[in-house]
Symmetry: none
DNA sequence: CGATAACCGAGACGGTACGTCTAGTCTTATC
DNA sequence: GATAAGACTAGACGTACCGTCTCGGTTATCG
C-alpha cells in the first residue's frame, strides 16, 4: 500500500513502519482532497491533519501524485455488480449507480481531474490504471460477458465499446453540468443507450 | 478579453493598455499549459516568457484560474459544423472531429482537467461555461435542430440528451485510455450511438 | 550594509529595499546571538523576531555567516582611544577597557567564537577582518605610534608585537577563565606587560 | 572515557560495551571536527563514518557537546615540558611549542572555538576544564614553580599571571592573524614577554 | 544450561530548520 | 495611469538531522 522499502527480500531490518500511520495519512489526504481538491492539496496539511511529521509522509509516498492516487483509490469504495438474473438490467443499473455515486461524492470530480491530468504524468497514470481502473473494468466486463451469453447484446460490439456507450453519456453529462447526476436523467440516457447496444 | 478596467463608461483615462501585452501573455500561458499542465503553471513563468512584469499579468487576470481559462479558450480554436445537407451526418462528423481534435491537442487534457476542477471553483466555472461551453453548445444545438427538422432524430429525446449520447462515448473513451482518439474507434462508437438517437 | 544589489551603477530599478527591514533584522540577529550564541542562531528565528519573511533575510545576507558577522559588527560599539597626553597610559587604558567591555558583553564570547571559526571559513573571515578588525586595529596602531614618538616604547618592537603583548594576556585570561575580566586583574597584567614593551 | 553506565557498583550486567566502538566514534568525530568544524559536526555523520548506529553514539555521549569535547581532548595529544636544567627556558619553549602545535593542527581553531562557546554552556565548560585545561595547567604550573625556585621569576607575579603573560600574546597573535604561528614570531614575542616576568 | 540483561545495527517516528520557490500585493522610476 | 522591475509577507516545497523509540539479533553474566 505504502511506498516500498528498499530491502524487498526477506525480513525487513530496523523498526517496522506503523500501519496506523499509513491509515491516518491516507484518511487525512482523502479528506483534504474532498475539501479542497487536488490542486490545493499540500503535503504539509496532510501531515498536520494526520498528526505526523512531513518526512513520514514522504517516506511512504515520495510525491503528491503518489499520495493522491493512493488516497483516492483507498477512499472510493468499489462497487459490486448486482445480479438479478437479467444481465443487461444489471449492467445498466451498474452504470447508473456507479456514476451517480461518483457524482455525489466530493471525491468524484477529483477522480475525474486526476484522470485528466494522468495523460501528462506517467507516474500518475500507472497506479491509477492498476489500482483504480482495472478492478472496476474487470467487474464491468464480467457483467457484459454475462449479458452477451444471454444474447442481450449486439454481437458486433466489443465489450469496451459497450462500456463506452453506456458509461460515456452519463459521465459526460455530469462533466458538463458540474452537478450530481440525478437518477431520472441517468435512466433516460441509459434507456436510449440500450438501443445502441441491443442486438 | 482582459480583466475589466474601472472606468467602463466612455474614454478611459491615463495611458491605455497595450493590446500586444494581452496577446503575449495569453500566448505564453497557453504554451506553458500545453508544456507543463495546469498544476505546474506559474504566473512567474508566464510573465517571464511574455517579457512582462508580474503585476501586469495580475492587472488583467487577477488569479491563476482566470488567466488559465482565458488562455485555454483563446487557444482552442472553435469548430464550425459542416453542412452537407444531411444534418445527422453533419452532427456525427462534428462529434468525431471535435473529440479527435481535442484529444490530439496538448491542451485537450488540460481542458478536461479544468472542467473537472471547475466543479469546486465557481470563479473557474463561470468563464468556462460562458466562453467555452456556450459557444460550442450553440453550434451543436444548431445542427441538432437541423437534424430534428429533417426527421432524423428520435422525437422523445432532448437536444441535451442527444449531445450526451453522441459526445459522451467518444470523450469517455479518450478519458479512460489516455490516448488520442483514432478515427476508426470514433466511427464505430458513433455508428452504434446513431441507433440510440434515431427515430 | 546589506547584501549588494546587482546594479551598483546609477539609480537602482524597481522598488527599493526598506532600510527599516535592515535594522530590524540586524537587531533581531544581535539579540539572538547574545541570547543563544552562534551555534543556535537560526535564520528562521531571526526572521520571526524581526517580523519579516525568511526570503527577505536571504535577499540581504545569503548565509548565516554573513548575517552573523554583520550583526556582530553592527552591535559591538567601537571604542575610541582616550588622549590624556601620556600615550602609553592611553594605550594601556585602551587595552583594559576594550577587553573588559568585550568580556562583559553577552556578544563578547560570540565575537571570540566567530573569530575562531573564521579560520575555516573565508567568507566569514573577510568581512570580519574588514569591518571589525581593521577599524579597531587602526585605532590601536594610532595610539601606539603616538607612544612611540613620545619615546615610551622599546624601539625594536613592531606595533603588531606591542599589540599582542598588551592585549594578548588580557584576552587569554578571559578566554581561559570564562568570566568577565575584572579591572584589578587586568591592571596587574598590564603593569607587568608594560615592562615588556618599555624601552 | 565514554558516558557512564547506570550500575556503577560491582560488575555490570548484560553485554558489555565494545571498546572498539568508543574508539571508532571518537576517531570519526575528531576527523569530522578537523574537516568541517564544530558547527557542521552532525551525530549522523559521526555514526555513519564510525559504522555505528546513532543510538550507540547517544548511549555514550548524550549530546553533541559531550562528544565534541571528548573527541577533542582525545585527539589533541598532551605535551610534556622539557627539562634542560634552566626552568625559565623550559617554560618559554613549552609556550612556543604548545601554541605552534595547536595552531598547526586542524583541530586547533576548533579547540579555540569550543573554548569561546563554553562560556555560554556549562555542560561544555565542565569537561573542557577537567579534561583539557587542568592537565595542561598542571604541567605549566609545575615548570613555573621550578623556575620560581631557581629565582628566575618576578616574585610578585602569581603563576596564573605568568601563564597569561607568556601564552596570551602567542595565542592572541594566532587568533587575530588566523594563520599558523611561525617560530620566529613566537620567539620574538616570548623574548619581550620574558622582560615582563623576570625579577 | 537457560534466563536475563544490556549491547548493537538499522531504521521509523514527530519535529525543527534549512534554503528555494511561488503567490499576490506594494512601491518606485519611467514612459 | 500603464509599465518593468523588484521588494515584501506568507507559506509550501523537499531534504537533512535531531533525539527517541522500536525491532531482530548478539553476547555477556548469573542462577
Amino acid at each position: 500500500m505504502a511506498g516500498e522499502r528498499k530491502d524487498e527480500s526477506g525480513r525487513s531490518r530496523g523498526r517496522p513502519r506503523r500501519a496506523e500511520v499509513d491509515r491516518a495519512v491516507l484518511t487525512a489526504a482523502a479528506e483534504l482532497l474532498a475539501e479542497r481538491g487536488y490542486a490545493e492539496l499540500t503535503i504539509e496539511a496532510v501531515a498536520t491533519r494526520a498528526g505526523v511529521g512531513r518526512p513520514t509522509v514522504y517516506r511512504r509516498w515520495p510525491t503528491k501524485d503518489d499520495l493522491a492516487v493512493h488516497a483516492l483509490v483507498d477512499a472510493v469504495q468499489p462497487l459490486d455488480a448486482p445480479d438479478t438474473g437479467d444481465a443487461l438490467d444489471d449492467l445498466c443499473e451498474l452504470a447508473i449507480s456507479f456514476v451517480i455515486q461518483l457524482s455525489e461524492s466530493p471525491l468524484g470530480r477529483v477522480v475525474l481531474g486526476v484522470h485528466a491530468e494522468s495523460g501528462r504524468r506517467p507516474q500518475l497514470a500507472a497506479p491509477l490504471r492498476d489500482r483504480y481502473l482495472k478492478p472496476r473494468d474487470a467487474a464491468i466486463t464480467g457483467v457484459i460477458e454475462r449479458a452477451r451469453q444471454q444474447g442481450a447484446l449486439h454481437p458486433d460490439l466489443a465489450a469496451e465499446t459497450i462500456r463506452d456507450l453506456l458509461f460515456g453519456p452519463l459521465v459526460y453529462h455530469w462533466l458538463i453540468t458540474g452537478e450530481p447526476l440525478d437518477r431520472g436523467t441517468a435512466e433516460a440516457l441509459i434507456a436510449a443507450a440500450r438501443r445502441a447496444i441491443s442486438p
